[in-house]
Symmetry: C2
DNA sequence: GTAAGTGCAAAACCTTTGCACGTCG
DNA sequence: CGACGTGCAAAGGTTTTGCACTTAC
């Protein structure tokens, strides 16, 4: 059992509160509901998923509030934002994990697998430096097709 | 002078015609105008840019036709589609160039630099294989900030 | 002649934003 | 009290689509 079911984790919650307080912002009920939904989310989820889960904690959370909270959650490293070229963005609870990961994106089902890719740090630095720039972020994505039934979370066979 | 100004290139045009004929499609005036605008485009351009350039060749080209032509141009390797996480997608004339390139994306101006990254082929294969998948495409992007005045195509200083 | 292609405008879609009303400190 | 935050609904902006008319072959 690699992961115990999400527990209150007052520690992370405190860190988030500190983050927003430091910016002169407020720890409102709705904001904390979105935070809790975000940090306890499993796998890759969308803004809409996040809204649904936040509403399960606090009915009054609106879509606008979710979208307004996302930059705070990203900025405080509670979640990571993931644009894999689909319509919607995906989000992933940061379990304090490394930042240098690639995504293996299945074209058949909608699963995304995170893969460690530590060399990206070096690569980003090298490429940016060569052009007189400072690296901010790097993204490596491999799109792939399931080979019959072997996709980890296969959901729908190709039409 | 690394590149002569775009010439008719009946060769590539022929290849494109063959591609669409093979699919039972037709080489209409508008479609060929979009093709010509696409293959002769410099650098990274948007669908809107493409529309503008195609209209310069044939006034009657509509936005819908451009969007409907793009998948054909991508499918026939005339252009490459580039999603760098901004609102719009970018396109790049494929000068028969290698497929394995990374993008260095400047956050200050809107320039994108293509960088060879041949190892992506190997990496994609290895990662996909490890998960029992077949690689289809790989994408590596480095977001970076200009270090004062040194961005290759710097356009607007940070506000 | 007929199936494919086109322009137009409306639709779709996620995300952002303006505004008047809450509410946290 | 006075910002900051919220919900609602409308706006935003790119890309897609339905429809009736054209056109390539």
């Amino acid at each position: 059992m690699p992961k115990p079911p999400s527990q209150p984790s007052p520690e992370q919650s405190g860190a988030f509160k500190a983050f927003i307080a430091e910016k002169g912002l407020r720890a409102t009920r709705q904001r904390m509901a979105v935070f809790e939904a975000a940090r306890s989310g499993q796998g890759h989820y969308t803004a809409e998923d996040l809204l649904k889960r936040a509403r399960a904690i606090d009915r009054t959370v609106s879509r606008a509030t979710v979208y307004r909270a996302i930059p705070l959650l990203v900025g405080s490293n509670v979640i990571r934002e993931m644009d894999v070229g689909r319509d919607q963005k995906y989000y992933l609870a940061e379990a304090g994990s490394a930042t240098f990961r690639a995504q293996l994106i299945c074209e058949d089902c909608d699963c995304i697998v995170e893969v460690d890719a530590p060399f990206m740090e070096w690569y980003g630095k090298a490429v940016a430096a060569k052009h007189g720039m400072r690296p901010i972020a790097q993204k490596l994505q491999v799109t792939a097709a399931c080979l019959n039934e072997r996709c980890p979370k296969r959901r729908a066979p190709r039409p």
